[in-house]
Symmetry: C2
Subunit: 472 residues, 2 copies
C-alpha cells in the first residue's frame, strides 16, 4: 500500500473484542453500578402527569386535517396513515402514526481507559419510561435538539458526533424504528472513538462493552436507543480457545465467515430482494380526521375496540435534562409485546430465524424482524389460526432452551410504558427444517454485515442481536 | 466447514474474470456481431408516430387530478410532484413525474459455453430509442408484463429469474432509476447462471462479458437496462501480470481491497450517512393539475420556458415483441445530458470522484452520482455560477485524458430520444485535492461493494461503473 492510502484499522476488531470480553472494570466496577444508578434515579427525578390532548401546551389539532402538531411545526406530528398490503390477516386499514421526518443522532462515545475501550453511557430519564432513568447512549439528539428549536441547553458531547473526525468513526448508519408506530422514522446510529480529554460529567459513566452487554439482562435498564447502537458495533461473536460442542462455540462460529452457513450471503441478499419485490405495501399519509375506526376524545385518540395503542398527552417536570418542564403527546401501546428469536445449530454453527416483515411505516417494504414479533392481545378478534407462526414454539420453550429472557422498554421519548418481552430460544431438529418463504436461518456474521447498511434489520431484531452478542 | 453448510463459490470470481477477459468468442465472433445486429434491425421494425395526449388509446386524464393514467390502473402514471430541498440553485418547484410503483425485473442469464461464461443478450426495440434495436438484458419485465395485464405473449426466459435456484443467482439487487423523471422507481437487477439446455432463440445472442463491455463504446448500442445489470456483476477490475505505472494497473489496483484507498469503507459509509442525515428533501405527490409552471396542451405537457422535458404521446407498431401495436406517453427530455466521471490515481490506485446527489424521486434522500451530471441547457435562465462543479474541468479535458466517451441512451420504454454523453476523464494533481463536502474519491472496490445493496449508486453512475469495467 502506498503512503496516503489507507486500509481498515487491523487492531480495531481486537480492541472491540477485548472490551466485550471485559465483564468488569476498575472505572465503575459492576458491583458499584447499582449504587450509581440509585443515585442517578434520586438526582434525575421526573413527574409525569396525564393531561387532556385538547389542553396540551404547545400542541394543537390542525383545523383542516385534525393532525396533532407542535406550534413550531417541528418535533413530530400525529397524522393518519391509509394502508393497503397483500399479506397478513388484515390487509386494509387506517391508523394514527407518528411522523418525525428529521433524522436524529444516537451516539455512543468510546474511549480507551487502562488499555480497554469503555462506552460513555448516560443515565437518562424519559417521560414514557416505566422506571424513570434508563441506561442510554452518550447522545440522543433530534435535529430540533441540536439546532436549538426547543430553546433548551446544548446537548453534552454532541460535538464529538456532529464534527467527528472520519477516522474516529467506528459505526455510522441510519436505522429504522418501529414501523407500526412511526412513519419512515430513522435515526443515525453512531459509535465514535474519543480521546483521553473526554471525561464523564454528572449523569454519565464509562462501562466496558462487556458490562453494558451484561446489563441487557436486567429488566427495563438498557434503553432502546442504547440497544440499537450496540447492535451496530462491528463485533464478532467471540473466539473460544477450543471449538467445543457448547452454545458459546456455536455462537463464536456464527460470527466467523469462514465457518459457512445454510445460505451464502448472496442468497440471503437475493431472498431479501425477492421479498421486497413481491410484497405489496401502499401506505399513504391521510389527515388524522379521516382515520376511521379510531375516536378522538379529550384525553386520548383510541381504537374503537381498545386494541393496538392510544395517543395520550402528558405534562412532564424533570431535573437533569435540557428543559425542566414541557407537555407532549405519547403513544401508549395496549399490552406487552413479544419479540423472540429462535436460534438453532446447523453443523455446529448457530443460526437465527429471521422474518421478512412488512410494516406500514417502513421506508422500504420489508425489513428483517425477529422470528416472532407481536402483541398477542391484538389478535383476540381475529379468526383462530391468525396468530403469528412460531409463537406457539416460543411460548412452549422449556427453561433449558431459553438463552435470554428480559422485559425491555421501547423509546420513552415517544412511547408510554411500551414494554416488550425479548427472548432468545434455542430449538433443535424439526423447527423450520424447511423455511417458510418469508423466513430464513441467518448466521450472526450475516446479520452483522446487514447492520452496516440501512433498512435491513428492524429495531426489535437489533435489540435481539445485541442480546445475542451478550451471550458470548 | 460442516456438511450442509456453504461458503461463497470460490471459482465464481475467476469464471467471471475470464469471461470479462474474453474479448471475442466463437459463438458470435465480434466481427460478425454487426451483421447480426443489422439483421435484427431488419426483422424488428417499429413505427413510432406522435399522437395527441388527448387521443391516446387506453390512457386518460383523471378528472379530479389531471393525472395521466392507464385505463387498467396499472403500468405507470404521469402525476405531479411538489419538491422542497435545501440544496442547489432552485430549492422549491413542482414538476410532472412518472409514478411506476411496481418493481420490474432486469435480468441477464449467463451460461458456460466452451468453458467461458456467456451473457444472453437481447436485440430489443423500444419506442423511445433513437435507433430502434439496442442490446438489452435477457429479460426486461414489469410486474404488469409477467402477470399478463397487457394481454401479450409470455416473456421469454422469465422463468429463469422468477423461479431461480438460489445457488444459481450471481447478483440480485433493487436499484433506482432516474430520480428527476421517476418517483421512487426501482428495478430488480439480476444475473442468473443457467444450464446448457438454455438456447438463444431468435433475437437473442450469447456474448462474453468482455464482448458486451467492448460494445459499450458504440454510441446508443448497449441499453440502459443492460448497463445497470452489468454494473452489478461482481467483477474485479483485472489482474495485470505485473503492476506497472499505466492506467490498466491503476484500474486493477482499484478493484483490490488490499491496495487501500484515500478513505476506508467505514469512512465512505459514514460520509453517505452524513449526507443522508443533513440534506433535506421533501417530495410530495400532488395532482398533475396543480403543477404550476407547466402547461398541458393537446400534444404535450411542457415547461413554460421550454426547459427540462415534455410529456408526449406516441402510437407504436412493432414486430418482434409481445404486443404488436399500442399507444403510450413518453418523457421527452430537452437537450442531451452530460454524465462524466473524473478519475485520478492516488498512490497508483485509480479513484473516481462521486457526488452525493439529491434527486426528488429517490426513495431515500441522496444517491451517489457521477462527478458531473446535468443537462447544460436547463441552466441558461439561472444566475452565472449556477453551473455544476467540475463541468468546466470535464469540458476542458484534453484528448489524452479522455478514457471513455460515448453517447448512450436512457430507457426507451419510458423516455423519447433521451441521450446522455457519458465520459470518463482522467485528471491529475490539483483537481479536488480537498474534496468538497458532497464529493468523495472512491475506489472501484468500494463502488462494487455499494452496488451489492440498493439506493447507493444512481443509474448514471452505474452506467459509468460498467464503462470503467470495460477499460480493464
Amino acid at each position: 500500500m502506498m503512503p496516503g492510502l489507507r486500509l481498515p484499522d487491523p487492531l480495531l476488531a481486537k480492541r472491540i473484542e477485548e472490551s466485550a470480553c471485559a465483564r468488569d472494570s476498575v472505572v465503575l466496577p459492576t458491583d458499584r453500578f447499582g449504587d450509581w444508578l440509585t443515585e442517578r434515579r434520586r438526582a434525575q427525578w421526573q413527574e409525569v402527569r396525564r393531561v387532556p390532548l385538547t389542553a396540551l401546551r404547545g400542541w394543537d389539532f390542525e383545523s383542516d386535517t385534525g393532525n396533532l402538531v407542535h406550534a413550531s411545526g417541528r418535533f413530530f406530528a400525529v397524522e393518519g396513515l391509509a394502508v393497503r398490503t397483500d399479506t397478513g390477516p388484515v390487509r386494509r386499514w387506517r391508523q394514527p402514526i407518528v411522523n418525525q421526518p428529521e433524522i436524529g443522532v444516537l451516539g455512543i462515545a468510546v474511549r480507551e481507559i487502562d488499555g480497554v475501550l469503555h462506552c460513555l453511557m448516560q443515565a437518562k430519564v424519559e417521560p414514557g419510561n416505566v422506571n424513570g432513568v434508563q441506561l442510554s447512549p452518550t447522545v440522543q439528539a433530534t435535529k430540533s435538539n441540536y439546532t436549538g428549536v426547543h430553546g433548551g441547553a446544548p446537548v453534552p458531547y454532541l460535538e464529538h458526533f456532529r464534527d467527528a473526525e472520519p477516522s474516529a468513526v467506528i459505526a455510522d448508519v441510519l436505522q429504522s424504528e418501529q414501523g407500526s408506530w412511526f412513519y419512515r422514522k430513522r435515526n443515525r446510529n453512531m459509535v465514535v472513538e474519543v480521546g483521553p480529554e473526554v471525561e464523564a460529567v454528572d449523569g454519565f459513566c464509562w462501562l466496558t462493552l462487556g458490562q453494558v452487554l451484561d446489563l441487557l439482562r436486567v429488566d427495563n435498564l438498557v434503553s432502546m436507543d442504547a440497544r440499537t447502537v450496540l447492535s451496530c458495533v462491528p463485533l464478532g461473536s467471540g473466539e473460544p480457545d477450543r471449538v467445543g460442542d457448547d452454545f458459546a462455540s456455536a455462537l463464536a462460529l456464527s460470527g466467523d465467515p469462514a465457518a459457512g452457513g445454510l445460505h451464502t450471503t448472496t442468497e440471503v441478499l437475493s431472498w431479501i430482494t425477492d421479498m421486497q419485490a413481491r410484497r405489496e405495501m401502499d401506505a399513504r399519509r391521510v389527515p388524522l380526521d379521516e382515520v376511521d375506526g379510531w375516536t378522538r376524545g379529550d384525553w386520548s385518540i383510541s381504537h374503537d375496540k381498545g386494541r393496538f395503542f392510544s395517543v395520550i398527552g402528558v405534562d412532564v417536570e424533570a431535573a437533569g435534562r435540557e428543559v425542566a418542564a414541557w407537555q407532549q403527546p405519547l403513544i401508549r401501546p395496549h399490552g406487552t409485546g413479544v419479540a423472540t428469536l429462535l436460534v438453532r445449530r446447523f453443523g455446529g454453527v448457530l443460526h437465527a430465524l429471521l422474518n421478512a416483515r412488512v410494516e406500514a411505516g417502513y421506508l422500504d417494504v420489508v425489513e428483517l424482524a425477529p422470528t416472532v414479533q407481536c402483541t398477542p392481545g391484538n389478535y383476540v378478534d381475529l379468526p383462530p389460526g391468525s396468530l403469528p407462526p412460531f409463537l406457539d414454539i416460543a411460548r412452549a420453550a422449556r427453561a433449558d432452551q431459553v438463552r435470554f429472557d428480559a422485559e425491555l422498554s421501547e423509546e420513552g421519548g415517544r412511547f408510554h410504558h411500551a414494554r416488550t418481552r425479548y427472548g432468545i430460544v434455542e430449538v433443535g431438529t424439526g423447527v423450520a427444517d424447511t423455511e417458510p418463504p418469508d423466513y430464513r436461518w441467518l448466521t450472526l456474521h450475516q446479520l452483522a454485515g446487514l447492520l452496516q447498511h440501512s433498512h435491513y434489520v428492524n429495531v426489535q431484531a437489533r435489540t435481539l442481536v445485541a442480546c445475542l452478542l451478550g451471550l458470548r
